[in-house]
Structures are given as structure tokens and as C-alpha cells.
Symmetry: C2
Subunit: 427 residues, 2 copies
């Protein structure tokens, strides 16, 4: 099947920032076969979608998520961090079944598809249920079980993670990429991280880890080990694999040598970092050092929304505040972080609309009061757009949402299922 979308605006986000007005994108077998002005490809197609007031652009890659935590969205919000974890989240997580986690991940999938996300990197548990949700929803998933080194003395859970990777590597038309996820330096001592690094090398897996998230972590790790979280992680060898560093708020200039050999990059989570009062990513420091920077939401239990438009806004607002000037960090920087940025951290070719790229794209309805007039479509999308402006979501060439209606699964049934499951989690 060959498909084509024609629209008022096609924002390619290619390196030159090319915009076609009006424009078209055509794809076949999950790959883009042409991009250009409206009349640039006249070959016949099997299905044409015409959105005159639409903006076609690459879909978002959410670089850090705990998707099933939609189940806990808003639970005991605004509490002190440890009270929240110990009294509210952990006791309920202990009761979650695989079916609960499937349902929570499907709810997250609905929210992500609705708000233009085409793939996400996830760290949680019962990952077979998460992988099944990725398979069923049509999204892409970079999936890993969170490993707590202090609770894995014999490396059994690490071994299970490798098994999980074997089991799912070739499933769902290649939309699932298994990874290894040592949770954080304060839960995974250096010898365990070294074990994970070795397993990653041996099985050719990427690594997903929380690093340099809070000031507390920086202080504790530095006191305990005499090295920063980044230096400590680097010393264990994990950066010799592709590594996704989630957060990175407290990366210091003195950490740059330790990051020099990093394949992968840093996923900024500005909403989570603001809401938990963790701080603001040193974006400029990392960018100038050539570190790829993507964008992620963190789990909905702390961030509340999986809408990448909110993350783009938060990233831009906070970077401008950090800079102390309004003209350094621009709208397009946020848009690139949310698309090509995360994809680059993951080593995935998505994030731009160019021939040969994966057909992971979305259409935003530009004919709405809050997106008019159109002096600058990039500024409109980043600073005024919201997830619900998305009307089409296409992943690997498959139309997951059309005219605002999810096509790949029964969203209403998922919402009903979540409501009944949450009733059992309420004491």
C-alpha cells in the first residue's frame, strides 16, 4: 500500500528546516518515498489524505517514560517526594498485576497517539505486558525493565532482562527495541553497573538509566564515591554502549570528559524536573559539548501528562529563564529535541520527513483560534500548540489515529478497563 498526505504545510525538520506550502508526504512499507511541494509526486497511491489546514511534521519520540504509571496520575500529588513514594506509590505498585500494567500502558498509548507521540522509551516492570501493549497499540517502544542492583545479588533479574530482549527483539515488525535499564547510581552500585555494561556489550543492547537527576543524588554519590554520578557511571563502562541518560539536570562542566565517549545522549524531562523541584538542565553546556539532547515526559504519576507539546513549552520557558535572556533557546530547538533529538539519542533514523526515513508522522489541525495567524508555524506549534491539536498519527506507515479517532484499538474499552482496575488500587 502506498499512501500520501497533502496539507497546507509540510514541516520536514530536515537539517535545512525545509517547509513546503502546500506540501505532500508519500510512504510505502513504513518508509517515506517522497516529500515536497503538493505537486512534487504524481505517482498513483492507494490512499490519499487531504488536510488543507493541516501541518504535517515528524511525530514525537518520548525519550523517558514509565508508561503504566498513568494508573497513578494525580495520586497524592504535591506531596513531599519520599512520603509520596513510600506511602502512596510503592505500596500500590507492589499490588500491580501484569494485566494492570498492560491496561495502564494502553491508556498511555492512547494519550501518546492522541498527542502526536510515535514512540517512547520505557522503564518499568512486567515488561512483557508493556511490550504487548506496544505491539497492540502500533507505537514504537524502546523497552527495559528497571533493575535495582541492590535487590539483584545473583544477577537473576539482569539475566531475565536479557531473556526479555531475546523474546521481543524481532516482534511487532521491528517496532520494539529492548534495552537494559539499571535504575540509577543510588540503587545500582558500581559493580552491578559494570555487570550491566558487560551484558549490554555482549548482547548489543542499549542502556537506559536515571542519572544526575537531583541535587540530593549528586551530593550523596559524590560523598559516597568521591565521583559525580556521571563520572561514576562512566567508570563502570556503561557509556561504551549506547546509553540514554534520563534527566541529567545536575551534569557539571567537570563531567564533560566523562561524557566525551558517550554514544547516546541525554533526555531532558523539564516538566518532571520542575514539578519535583529538581532543577533545570544545563542545555547549553551539553549542546556545546556535542551531546545529543532529546526530550521525555517521565511517568504520568509525577508529570501528569504525556503531552510532548507541554514538554516543549516547559523546555523553552525554563531554558530562557536559565539563560536570563529570551533569544538563546528557540522554538525550533525544542521541536528538534522532541523529534530528531530523542531519535538520535536512541540511534534511530526517525525525526525528520525525508525520503528513506521511517514513516512516523503526525498532522496538526492549524485552523484553530489559538494557532492563528501564522507568522511562524514553528512558534505556533511549540508555544501555542497542545496535544489535542493532533488529528492524524502515523507510525511505521500505519495510521494509528485518523480525524482524531484512534484506529488501532478500542480506546473506550481501555478507559473503562482502567477505571475498574483503579477501583481495586484504592484503599
Amino acid at each position: 500500500m502506498r499512501y500520501r498526505i497533502t496539507a497546507g504545510t509540510v514541516m520536514t525538520l530536515d537539517p535545512a528546516g525545509t517547509i513546503h506550502r502546500p506540501g505532500q508526504v508519500s510512504w510505502e512499507n513504513g518508509t517515506i518515498v517522497s516529500v515536497g511541494t503538493a505537486e512534487s509526486d504524481r505517482r498513483p497511491v492507494d490512499q490519499t489524505i487531504h488536510v488543507p489546514a493541516g501541518v504535517v511534521m515528524p511525530g514525537f519520540y518520548n525519550g523517558h517514560n514509565h508508561a503504566a504509571m498513568t494508573l497513578f496520575r494525580g495520586l497524592a500529588d504535591d506531596s513531599p517526594l519520599f512520603e509520596w513514594l513510600q506511602q502512596h506509590i510503592w505500596p500500590r505498585e507492589a499490588r500491580l498485576t501484569a494485566d494492570d500494567i498492560y491496561a495502564g500502558t494502553m491508556l498511555a498509548a492512547a494519550e501518546m497517539i492522541r498527542s502526536g507521540t510515535v514512540g517512547f522509551a520505557d522503564m518499568y516492570f512486567e515488561m512483557d505486558a508493556v511490550a504487548q501493549a506496544v505491539a497492540d497499540s502500533g507505537l514504537r517502544g524502546w523497552l527495559a525493565r528497571g533493575l535495582i542492583g541492590t535487590q539483584d545479588p545473583d544477577g537473576e533479574k539482569l539475566a531475565e532482562s536479557v531473556e526479555f530482549a531475546r523474546r521481543w527483539a524481532d516482534q511487532a515488525d521491528g517496532r520494539i527495541v529492548p534495552m537494559l535499564a539499571p535504575h540509577a547510581p543510588y540503587t545500582c552500585p558500581p559493580p552491578y553497573l559494570a555487570q550491566v555494561a558487560e551484558a549490554a556489550r555482549k548482547h548489543n543492547l542499549g542502556i537506559h538509566i536515571h542519572l544526575a537527576e537531583s541535587h540530593q543524588e549528586l551530593a550523596d554519590i559524590t560523598r559516597q564515591y568521591g565521583r559525580t554520578p556521571i563520572e561514576l557511571a562512566s567508570d563502570t563502562g556503561i557509556f561504551r554502549n549506547r546509553t540514554l541518560i534520563a534527566h541529567g539536570v545536575h551534569i557539571l562542566e567537570s563531567d564533560l570528559p566523562a561524557l566525551a565517549g558517550l554514544v547516546g545522549g541525554v533526555i531532558a524531562c523539564p516538566v518532571s524536573n520542575a514539578k519535583l523541584a529538581s532543577g533545570i538542565l544545563p542545555y547549553r553546556l551539553l549542546r556545546d559539548a556535542g551531546v545529543p539532547i532529546g526530550l521525555g515526559t517521565d511517568g504520568a504519576a509525577s508529570t501528569n501528562t504525556l503531552d510532548m507539546f507541554q514538554e516543549m513549552k516547559a523546555m523553552a520557558w525554563l531554558q530562557k529563564l536559565r539563560d536570563g535572556q529570551p533569544d538563546g533557546f528557540r522554538a525550533v530547538d525544542a521541536l528538534r529535541a522532541a523529534t530528531r533529538g530523542t531519535a538520535a539519542v536512541l540511534g534511530f533514523p526517525g525525526g525528520e520527513l525525508t525520503t528513506g526515513s521511517p514513516a512516523d508522522l503526525i498532522v496538526v489541525d492549524g485552523r484553530q483560534a489559538h494557532l492563528m495567524p501564522e507568522w511562524d508555524v514553528t512558534a505556533n506549534l511549540v508555544y501555542a500548540g497542545v496535544g489535542s491539536d493532533v488529528v492524524y498519527t502515523v507510525v511505521a506507515g500505519r495510521i494509528l489515529m485518523a480525524e482524531g479517532i484512534i484506529q488501532s484499538f478500542d480506546e473506550q474499552a481501555i478507559m473503562r478497563d482502567v477505571v475498574s482496575r483503579v477501583a481495586h488500587l484504592t484503599d
Copy 2:
């Protein structure tokens, strides 16, 4: 006509924070006549609206706007501030006709009604056109022409403002409240501010002024006058009238004595203050001093969106970052600022759903993936909600939007008109 909305949740935002599930709100002649559980009022009504998955709550009051600047949304975004003003905004503002300003204000009205705003405080020029847009759209407006003291040597524009107030005070069923708006201390020298204060007293008008917005202003005013912007303004006598201080980012602890007698309060504009890198409001300082605090968007040329849900998010995120802890500023604090907070600054009785209050209310559609499950409806609204979740907007008892469709004017015609006008503003 008597109306009633019944819904799954009625969030009254009364002082006790009462929530009825399910609940009802009834109103007549623009005033709420009963609020309670679903069966709490069985008197017959002329129209019933039933939204089983809806959340009924007070509408938002946007405390600081330049509504017609929707015409410049996204124009030369991310530029240095003075380049942006001098090269892009001011030359185009000079060309705006009254009809342009009417169209821009109507576009803003569409965006505000769609995102649950029921009233706004506006400072711009050609205010008869703005007032006409308020009359036509059905919103409430606290309206004032921005006065540049340095360009008003004979007080002619001040006199025109008083005339404007006379002309509109009793129009549009009392939905228009004229004010006086000396622009800022760096454009209105102290003798001019004193003149405005005198006129305000004489004609019983409130005052709307930009104060303590940027570090530059604080530094310049302090150097020039030996007093902070707040102290300077206080000395001119303007605070003896009801005064709406827009921004207030750089209010110092030493300013509190000057604020002690203030009737009115401060309107936080967190998105604008972040986007222009102005800083973060000292919320806790002002709250502890008993200063009423509301919320506003500033104009869409700098903030890009008039969605008060974005302001609530930004306010909460930034206050948590400023506090350095996640549990001080809570979701409900943002919600109260956006509703009762702004109303209190304006001296208006709105902002809560109680018998005798103005029937200014909205309904949010809670049955959406990003607003589920419902551990905490307040957290869901503030941290995950967006303007487009609003399905009904009621102002002074009149239904301005029903099921997501604006009832009070032809939104499509306004959008077409704006597009054609903007074409003339493009060089």
C-alpha cells in the same frame, strides 16, 4: 430563564473546597441560585444540560492581557526584546486600525471562550473596538487604554480614558468595567502617575499598570529615582485606588510596607515572565503578606497562548522550582489564582460556585485519556488539563460555548477576517 447543569463533578472552589459528585449548578438572570449534589434542587428549569463525565467549575479570569495582540502571535518570536519591539511590533501596531483591533480581540475572545476564560483585564488602544468585541463576544472585560505619560503632556489621553469610561460603564449588561492604565513607571513619570491617581479617585476607577516586571526596570527606576518601582508607584498615590499590578516579578521584601495599603493585588504572568526571561514571582512573599494574587497571560504576541491552563501549569512548575521543594505550591493554589484570585484583585465577586455568585462557569470533559484515572480532579485539571478540554463556557448566565461550539458569534468568519487583515500587516 432558569438553567441547570448536572455533571459527574461540581468543583465549587468555595472557601472549604467543596466538591459534589455528582452535582448540579442552577442559575437565573446571570446569578447562581443553587449548587449542590445532583438531587439538591428539584425546582423546574427552562433548560437542563447533562454532562455525566463533565467537571463543572468556575471559569477563569485572565488578569492581564493585550487581547488584540493575537494578531502578532508568533511574529519574530525568540528575538531580543528591543529588536522585537522596535523592528517588528511597534511599526505594525502603528498601522493597526480600529477594525483590525476589533478583529484581533474577537480572535482572542474565541480562544478565551474555547479555553474556559470568562473575563479578562485588557490594556491596549482603540479601546472602543475592544469594548465592542467584549459586548459582542459575551465575555466580561476590565478595559483600559494604555497611557504613555511621556506622550501625554496635556493629559488629553487621560481625559479621553475618562470619557471612554463614561461611555461604556453601563453598556453590555454590566460586563464592561472601564479602568485607567498608566503603562509603566518607565513610560509614566511620577507627576503623571499622580494625575492618573487623582482622576481614578475622582471617577471611581481602578488602575491597571505594569510594575516590577523586569530586572532592568528595577535597576533603572531605582537608579533614577532612588526608590523601587513599587515604592515609586505607592508614593504617587495610585495604590489608594484599586490597583492591578501586572507581573510584580521583582517585588522585594522591602517593598511590603509600600504595598500594605494596596486595594487590588498582583497578577502573575508566569509564561510571559519565563518566555521573556524576566524571572519568577515571589509568590510566597506576597501571599504571606496578604496580597491578593491572580493570574494572567499577557498578550499573545509574547505568550503565544491565552490558555489559562498553561498559565496554571507554568505557575506551579516555576513556584516549585523557586521553592526548591515540590510540596509548597499546590495545584489548588494555581486553580484559585486563576479564578477567585484574579477576581479578588479586580474586586469582582466571581471565582467560586456559590449561591448568589455570578454565573460564570465552565464544563471540562473529564472522559479523556489524559484526564484519567481520577485520583485527584484538581491535579488532573491543573497538571494535565488543556484549554481544549473545555466543552461549555457560561458568562453572566449566557451559554457562550456549548459542546465545543461557540454560540455568541461566528468564529469561522472571525478567523477568515483575521487572515485577510494580517496579509496587510505583512511587509
